[in-house]
């Protein structure tokens, strides 16, 4: 087979590579399948074509941070888990909150995480996320002790089905957290603290006979 002229054959090769791959494949990796020079735009067209072919089936081709990969649709998980009860653990709040802070505030030091959570972060929490390959140290802060700066990895994005950090669920607007019952008319983010009423505290501050 010297040249690939048959588009259909090209498609079969691409599909086969993606079905057997053990990690997401980028377009530039997929190019390496062929000795011929295939344009990225053509590959992208075919990938979208394959994606369309699989609609309505149990498996879907998705585009992730590090490339394209086939995965089973989530709705089939209940069936599949009857065959494989083993699956990765569901992490505790300590782990998930640490992950969220790293994801949304990166790069952060362990000290930053601790000051947001108000508690110390145990080594095993960091270790769990490092071992899962979801976070990594990307440098050191130039302060005494040179603490490591943590950031999320591509694998984190891939495993959550994201292309980029911009796909993370949006943060709750701090303004909407301020008043629990009434809908705030306008959110004065930064000035909010200046408007704190001081006087109506009097009642509460009186010593109370118990």
């Amino acid at each position: 087979m010297s040249t690939i002229t048959d588009l259909n054959y090209l498609k079969i090769v691409l599909e086969t590579a993606l079905l057997t791959a053990t990690e997401p494949l980028s377009v530039s990796q997929l190019k390496k399948l062929f000795t011929e020079d295939i344009k990225a735009s053509l590959l992208n067209d075919i990938l979208e074509d394959i994606q369309a072919d699989w609609r309505g089936r149990g498996v879907e081709l998705v585009k992730l941070a590090s490339g394209w990969r086939f995965r089973a649709r989530a709705e089939f998980t209940p069936y599949l888990s009857r065959l494989n009860p083993e699956k990765p653990p569901r992490y505790s709040r300590a782990v998930m909150e640490t992950l969220a802070i790293i994801a949304y505030k990166q790069p952060v030091t362990r000290g930053d995480i601790e000051s947001i959570r108000g508690v110390s972060v145990s080594t095993s929490v960091m270790q769990t996320l490092l071992e899962r390959g979801w976070i990594e140290v990307i440098g050191h802060k130039d302060v005494p002790g040179r603490p490591g700066l943590y950031a999320t990895t591509r694998k984190f994005l891939d495993d959550l089905g994201f292309v980029s950090l911009r796909d993370l669920p949006p943060l709750a607007d701090l303004g909407t957290l301020v008043i629990p019952d009434a809908q705030p008319q306008e959110i004065g983010s930064d000035d909010a603290e200046d408007t704190l009423p001081l006087d109506d505290e009097a009642d509460n501050l009186e010593p109370q006979a118990e």
């Binding site: 079905l19 057997t20 791959a21 053990t22 498996v59 990969r69 086939f70 995965r71 089973a72 649709r73 989530a74 998980t77 599949l80 009860p85 083993e86 699956k87 990765p88 653990p89 569901r90 992490y91 709040r93 998930m96 909150e97 992950l99 969220a100 994801a103 949304y104 505030k105 947001i116 959570r117 108000g118 508690v119 071992e131 495993d159 959550l160 089905g161 950090l165 911009r166 993370l168 669920p169 949006p170 943060l171 709750a172 701090l174 909407t176 957290l177 301020v178 008043i179 629990p180 603290e193 200046d194 704190l196 009423p197 001081l198 109506d200 505290e201 509460n204 501050l205 009186e206 109370q208």
Partner: protein, 276 residues
């Protein structure tokens, strides 16, 4: 970082959150409310405390539970309630208490500054509310707490969906998988997460060396019929080793895996595999 883009149909129902969350599980039943009178049975207290992620989380809970305005925290009430938790906690979990005590000190400081007749002014001449910093921290924390819940709800690889794994037969000789120590730890996490009741299968180093000796003794005995008791102990390996070995023997007897017997007092003791 931009947080503008919204993935398809994701919505945060932020402010209601603390209400619906069970704050603890006592005997498997979700506890949704801390008793109003704040009488907490001592057994339940530990469970409740473990369900809070720290002083900020507890404070936030107290504020949200009563639907209070975060910007206008009634310091006296909140401090009093907070202190009743901390008091109850101190006897039980001292190591937890340090961070909670720090927060208590902060609450009392804020309260006392509010009592001063004239509020301090900041650089711009505005009244400086001592609660402002606390409010900022509470909101920052709550934002991250909600983000964590939102992340946890997203489908995660392997937990909620599977990758494809079609085989490629490579003619070359089959390579054996590599396994590293961390893989064993991860495997154990998965077991724990699936365990019916979160029994913590804690395995400490001491216990491990006992387990190692148990395996060694069984191996040793399996090749022999009767072994004199002393033969199981290598004196030159030191006292620690002898103690561990002895515990291993006791453990094996307890599990019914070996039999230790002595015909008559002061006669040699023999050890053998427990097979009738």
């Amino acid at each position: 970082m931009s947080t503008q883009t919204t993935p398809a149909d994701f919505t945060l129902t932020a402010p209601e959150l603390p209400a619906g969350l069970p704050i603890a599980h006592v005997f498997g039943q979700p506890v949704l409310e801390v008793p109003q009178d704040l009488f907490i049975p001592p057994d339940a207290l530990q469970v409740i405390l473990e369900s809070f992620e720290g002083p900020l989380d507890l404070l936030l809970y107290l504020i949200r539970k009563q639907n209070l305005d975060v910007l206008n925290i009634p310091m006296a009430d909140i401090t009093r309630q907070y202190m009743s938790y901390v008091d109850a906690m101190q006897g039980e979990r001292l190591e937890l208490a340090a961070e909670y005590l720090l927060m208590a000190a902060l609450l009392i400081e804020i309260k006392s500054r509010l009592l001063l007749p004239r509020p301090q002014l900041d650089e711009e001449g505005e009244p400086d509310d001592p609660r402002a910093e606390l409010v900022r921290r509470l909101l920052d924390y709550e934002q991250m707490k909600l983000a964590a819940l939102a992340l946890d709800k997203l489908p995660q690889a392997d937990r909620d969906f599977a990758w494809l794994a079609v085989l490629i037969e490579q003619g070359a000789e089959a390579r054996l998988p590599d396994v590293a120590a961390v893989d064993l730890r991860q495997a154990w996490l998965a077991i724990l997460s699936r365990a019916k009741h979160k029994r913590s299968h804690k395995v400490e180093k001491d216990e491990l060396s006992v387990r190692e000796q148990m395996s060694w003794i069984l191996r040793y005995l399996s090749e022999r019929e009767y072994v004199p008791f002393e033969e199981l102990f290598e004196v030159d390996k030191g006292v620690a080793h002898l103690v561990v070995n002895f515990i291993a023997v006791l453990e094996l007897v307890k599990e019914g895996l070996i039999k230790v017997s002595q015909e008559v007092a002061y006669q040699p003791i023999y050890v053998r595999i427990a097979i009738s």
